[in-house]
């Protein structure tokens, strides 16, 4: 008490003490700092998510390890739901805030809503711990133990849980919410790092095949850091060109700057490397299959769906707000990238034997499709991109949710922590090899049906969200004059249909693998995964059968503020 009273006692304005003391009233008046105006309502979605993450950290700090799980799940889900409510409440907003660092407009809000819904579903997958009978925790008991060591087994046996994944994931979601909203390149860069760093970590925390997981995390981290450096160099060059990092200032500078175009072109090229890396476009796609395969599957689902939304959001904003004046320069490059992405994605996907790798190449392929929307540079292109991102995101989360449920069975395995006590057959890791999926339709028709829906959606078969989305994208691209791209897209779709349908055929028309008597088994998840799966299937079909409402929403949302 006395300490603080004396703090007050030494307050300024003491007339007997003109020389010393702390600033007099006069200097406060003459030299005030005006704080920037911050429209907190517009930032609420991000603030809520970051707040929830911080609460999660406090839970980690103060609750004993065994009692952290439910509070973490509750806080994370509540945070995402409340943030979504704020996004809905902000509809129709069009303003920039926080010293113009963030612009909240239709595109931002649509993408933020999409990201939050995807994050909600992914959180359900992340929170999956299985029923009492089977432990489906996708995350390692203790990240610090050496794979295969006694410590790992002991940590499993002790029932440790890495509940830190919840705050980490929320941090990433917060970064994703900001990335498409960032109105200057510096904010963009920071948001990119905030969304990436937790993902690098989460990739390395798989419970099974931990070496693969750690390798994936390492690759993702190194390449990601490299691409971030490219992005940052691009920002520096653009700053040198425009004298500002604000997108609208760059747009103005492009039409009026006295500097040579080399600077701005080099800057944009480096910037594009960073962004195209995040969306996984060829030739910056090399990390995708390894990382998608090695990461814990719920994280793969989250990454494949939500990161893509956020990164395409940022790409849209930068190209549409900052670089319309350079349209004739960046469009040809993106044409090439889109063609390469579609072809490489489609062709390499055919050769894959691992379901997660196949889905990874499918993600690359879809990034190519979405680039069509970006290239069209029309409002229709924006709205079709928004719609496709949502449709693709839901289907991806659903597909990876199915992957988490098809497991290897280990006969006579002594793998502790799996809880398969009754027999000598225990549930192992995910059976990601395609051969394990043979005959799935006979043993688990419902699950196979779900997966079929997602495969059909990816292939763009009518009555699924994929068809509507692709139709909208291709129409927009033709409107934008990119019809050759559409032809390539259609060819790639045809090739892609081959490997999507191949999986369906494998599931329904092949004999199940029963060689060593230990074929794959389908586990019964807790309601978490069931809910996620149901919602994604429902949305995938709903967006295919009755897409009009969502298309209208995307149309209405296709506006930017500067």
């Amino acid at each position: 008490m006395s300490v603080l009273t004396s703090l007050l006692a030494a307050s300024p304005g003491d007339p007997t003490n003109p020389g010393g003391g702390l600033g007099g009233a006069t200097s406060t008046v003459t030299n005030t700092f005006t704080a920037p105006h911050v429209e907190y309502r517009a930032l609420m979605p991000m603030l809520v998510v970051f707040g929830a993450a911080t609460v999660g950290i406090l839970i980690e700090a103060f609750l004993p390890r065994t009692r952290r799980y439910w509070p973490q799940v509750g806080v994370s889900l509540a945070g995402v739901v409340v943030a979504f409510c704020f996004v809905v409440a902000n509809h129709g907003m069009a303003e920039t805030t926080a010293a113009d660092a963030v612009s909240v407009d239709g595109v931002t809000l649509f993408l933020q809503g999409t990201i939050l819904l995807l994050a909600l579903l992914a959180l359900l997958l992340v929170a999956e711990r299985g029923t009492g009978l089977v432990d489906l925790d996708a995350f390692t008991a203790q990240g610090a133990t050496t794979p295969g060591s006694g410590g790992e087994r002991a940590a499993d046996a002790a029932g440790l849980r890495t509940t830190e994944v919840f705050p980490l994931m929320l941090f990433s979601v917060g970064g994703m919410l900001l990335f498409p909203a960032a109105n200057d390149l510096l904010t963009s860069f920071v948001a990119l790092e905030v969304l990436s760093l937790p993902l690098y970590l989460l990739c390395g925390l798989a419970r099974r095949r931990r070496l693969l997981s750690q390798e994936a995390a390492m690759k993702y981290f190194l390449l990601g850091a490299f691409s971030s450096a490219f992005f940052l160099y691009g920002v520096a060059l653009l700053y040198g060109y425009a004298g500002s990092v604000r997108l609208s200032d760059i747009a103005t500078a492009i039409t009026s700057s006295p500097h040579s175009d080399v600077l701005v072109l080099a800057g944009v090229a480096l910037l594009a490397v960073g962004l195209l890396f995040k969306v996984g476009a060829v030739p910056f796609h090399a990390w995708t299959p390894d990382v998608y395969q090695g990461a814990p599957t719920p994280i793969t689902a989250f990454m494949a769906a939500a990161t893509k939304v956020a990164a395409f959001g940022a790409l849209l904003r930068i190209t549409y707000v900052a670089l319309p004046g350079l349209r004739w320069d960046w469009r040809p490059v993106l044409w090439g990238v889109a063609i390469l992405t579609m072809l490489v994605g489609a062709i390499l996907a055919i050769t894959q034997r691992d379901i997660k790798r196949m889905l990874a190449y499918s993600a690359i392929l879809n990034a190519g499709y979405i680039l069509l929307g970006v290239i069209s540079t029309t409002s229709k292109g924006v709205s079709s991109t928004l719609f496709y991102l949502a449709a693709y995101g839901f289907a991806t989360i659903g597909a990876f949710a199915v992957v988490t449920l098809v497991r290897e069975s280990v006969r006579g395995g002594s793998d502790s922590g799996d809880g398969g006590e009754e027999d000598s057959v225990t549930v192992g890791g995910e059976a990601t090899d395609l051969s394990a999926w043979a005959g799935l339709g006979r043993r688990s028709p419902l699950l196979a049906a779900c997966f079929t829906v997602f495969m059909l959606a990816f292939a763009g078969i009518p009555l699924t969200s994929g068809f509507t989305g692709k139709f909208a994208l291709f129409t927009a691209a033709i409107d934008g004059g990119a019809w050759p791209l559409v032809i390539v897209g259609v060819i790639a779709s045809a090739a892609a249909a081959f490997f999507y349908v191949r999986v369906i055929v494998l599931m329904y028309f092949s004999e199940p693998l029963r060689e060593q008597g230990a074929g794959p088994i389908v586990v019964v998840p807790s309601p978490m995964t069931t809910v996620a799966l149901t919602v994604t299937v429902a949305l995938t079909i709903a967006l295919g059968v009755l897409p009009q409402m969502a298309l209208d929403l995307a149309d209405k949302a296709a506006y930017f503020v500067q």
Binding site: A99, Q142, S149, A155, A266
Partner: protein
């Protein structure tokens, strides 16, 4: 600030700047060419310190001292720590010669060329007078612009650091030690005792 004043004429500042720049450049080159990893780290320290000197001459004194404090005082020390606490070769070694070094040199030179030319182009017409720019480099100016114009990215960086902190704990914290089965099965300590 005092440095620029003490140097007197503008040309003095320019000459010093060039000398420090050359020192930084030389140290940077040595960083990637010396055969001893610890020496490389030390040359890196010199390069980072040289950069701080450049900042100082450009009247960005706050950034300069922070550069010394953070990069020289913390980052590079941690780098040395990493070298000394792990099995990295801390003596003279040929392992550092990568087979790709010529390719790396070409890429490095090309990058440098692009950067020098485009940045040179960008600031070719800009005249910078350190003495007039002193006010831009003070802690007050940096603080004002940080909290007035860059408040959101700045606060977000704290979020990023928090996430990194949590991540570091996740990756390194052990509630169960790695040699736990050694303790259960054949404890190493007992074995050595038995030998003795």
């Amino acid at each position: 600030m005092t440095t620029t004043r003490a140097l007197g004429s503008t040309t003095g500042v320019e000459i010093t700047f060039i000398l420090i720049g050359l020192l930084t450049f030389g140290a940077a080159v040595l960083t990637v060419t010396v055969r001893n990893l610890v020496h490389a780290a030390l040359w890196l320290v010199v390069a980072l310190g040289g950069l701080a000197g450049c900042y100082l001459l450009l009247a960005a004194e706050f950034v300069a001292w922070v550069q010394v404090l953070i990069y020289v005082g913390a980052v590079a020390v941690l780098l040395l720590f990493g070298l000394m606490l792990t099995r990295a070769p801390i003596g003279r070694t040929t392992e550092l010669d990568s087979g790709n070094r010529w390719a790396a040199a070409v890429v490095g030179l090309a990058t440098a060329g692009v950067l020098v030319s485009v940045i040179g182009d960008a600031v070719r017409t800009t005249w910078f007078d350190p003495r007039q720019a002193v006010v831009n480099g003070t802690a007050k100016a940096v603080g004002t612009s940080l909290f007035r114009y860059w408040v959101l990215p700045f606060e977000l960086l704290s979020v990023l650091l928090l996430a990194a902190l949590v991540g570091a704990i996740v990756l390194s914290r052990r509630d169960v030690s790695d040699d736990v089965d050694a303790a259960e099965g054949t404890p190493r300590a007992q074995a050595t005792e038995a030998e003795a």
